[in-house]
């Protein structure tokens, strides 16, 4: 009935055209796609909830939320030293990426710690107060400063600005659990190793 169209070349041409049309549709929709992505607070929030919130800026971003936002747009998940390994695992599970080791450019895993000001040496310069991202340091000009221990995130940001180096980061003893699990199965992660998410 349509001998011309039945030839393979014409079919291929039609196929190309169809694919072109399809791409057009996708590009058309992409506008909405990006638009919706920007408005998806919940993604950023949920990624943010996995971060340790030390606000230390070791990842290169100013605080945890900006890093979460960057991750939602494709940033690597292995840039958070204070979170420890569990943070990276959780992030890669949520974002469906391969499990990675910590990026050494951003430091090493840190133990729980707290900053302490050696009060006799403090000159009251307020530089650490300005540096503290969570307002955990008290004190006025020319007055001695002190760290509110319960609010300190051990972010390390106050140590550099101190002109007399009177702030120490004291490591807290690791919390030892009272009850130890007799055995833990190594997780199969069955669903994940097949395509590995990131490969797509």
């Amino acid at each position: 009935m349509y001998p011309l169209i039945e030839t393979i070349y014409v079919q291929a041409a039609i196929a190309c055209f169809a694919i072109f049309l399809l791409l057009q549709i996708m590009f058309f929709l992409r506008k909405y796609w990006i638009h919706s992505l920007e408005k998806q607070y919940s993604i950023v929030d949920r990624i943010n909830a996995l971060l340790p919130q030390t606000q230390c800026g070791r990842c290169g971003y100013a605080g945890c939320r900006p890093y979460a936002k960057a991750m939602s747009l494709g940033e690597q998940v292995n840039k958070c030293p204070p979170g420890g390994e569990s943070t990276i695992v959780n992030l890669s599970l949520m974002l469906n990426e391969h499990k990675k080791t910590l990026d050494p450019a951003h430091g090493e895993f840190l133990q729980a710690a707290v900053a302490v000001i050696r009060e006799e040496e403090c000159i009251g310069c307020t530089k650490c107060i300005q540096a503290c991202p969570v307002d955990a340091i008290l004190g006025g000009t020319k007055l001695m400063h002190t760290v509110i221990e319960s609010e300190c995130t051990a972010c390390d940001l106050c140590i550099e600005p101190c002109p007399v180096d009177c702030i120490d980061l004291i490591q807290l003893p690791p919390l030892k659990p009272l009850w130890q699990s007799p055995g833990t199965a190594e997780r199969g992660l069955s669903g994940r190793s097949f395509v590995g998410g990131g490969s797509l």
Partner: protein, 191 residues
């Protein structure tokens, strides 16, 4: 009425699109092992599969066949199913859970398409009447959705199992799928 029921059960269980016809198998292994997410995904797939294959069916029956353009069916099916899938997914994207929002989305799209294409092609060759074919489509979509949910529950058990390293992941799931398809083979002849 019984014939429709038979067609639906036959398509959903006996000739299950995943396990007996092996179409779109990969999305079986990709879905989350959280049942809640799996159910959302299953419903989504049910919708997409049913709508797209029915649209393809109507296209074939009302346009392609009268015009004698059957040889264009594959291209048309692919075009319709992918655009429809994209449309549906885009329209309900905001409501999707995060686990299936990111990269996986693309994969579902394609795997869904292979299932849709399979169903549509089978429809175009079948002897069923139009309403029967729609029932067949629904049965297939239902089977697809059921298997996603059941496999999510199964995978939850496998995730906690102490499986030897070489068999972890896809291997054990393929073995499980093989065993399940063996048992679904038992229903052969039912319809």
């Amino acid at each position: 009425m019984t014939s429709y029921l038979g067609i639906i059960i036959g398509a959903a269980l006996v000739n299950n699109i995943f396990l007996v016809q092996l179409l779109g198998v990969s999305s079986l292994f990709l879905s989350s092992n959280r049942l809640q997410n799996a159910i959302e995904l299953a419903l989504l797939n049910l919708l997409v599969l049913f709508l797209a294959s029915t649209l393809n069916l109507l296209l074939f029956n009302w346009i392609l066949e009268p015009l004698g353009l059957q040889f264009l069916s594959i291209i048309c099916f692919v075009g319709i199913s992918s655009s429809l899938t994209i449309l549906i997914l885009e329209s309900i994207k905001r409501k999707l859970p995060i686990s299936i929002r990111r990269q996986r989305l693309a994969f579902y799209l394609t795997s869904g398409n292979s299932a849709i294409l399979g169903i549509s092609l089978m429809n175009s060759n079948s002897l069923l009447s139009l309403p029967q074919s729609i029932a067949y489509n629904f049965g297939n979509a239902l089977g697809f959705a059921l298997m996603i949910v059941a496999f999510a529950a199964l995978r939850l058990r496998l995730d906690c199992a102490d499986i030897p390293a070489p068999f972890r992941g896809a291997a054990i799931q393929l073995i499980s799928a093989g065993i399940v398809s063996m048992c679904l083979l038992g229903f052969a002849g039912l319809v």
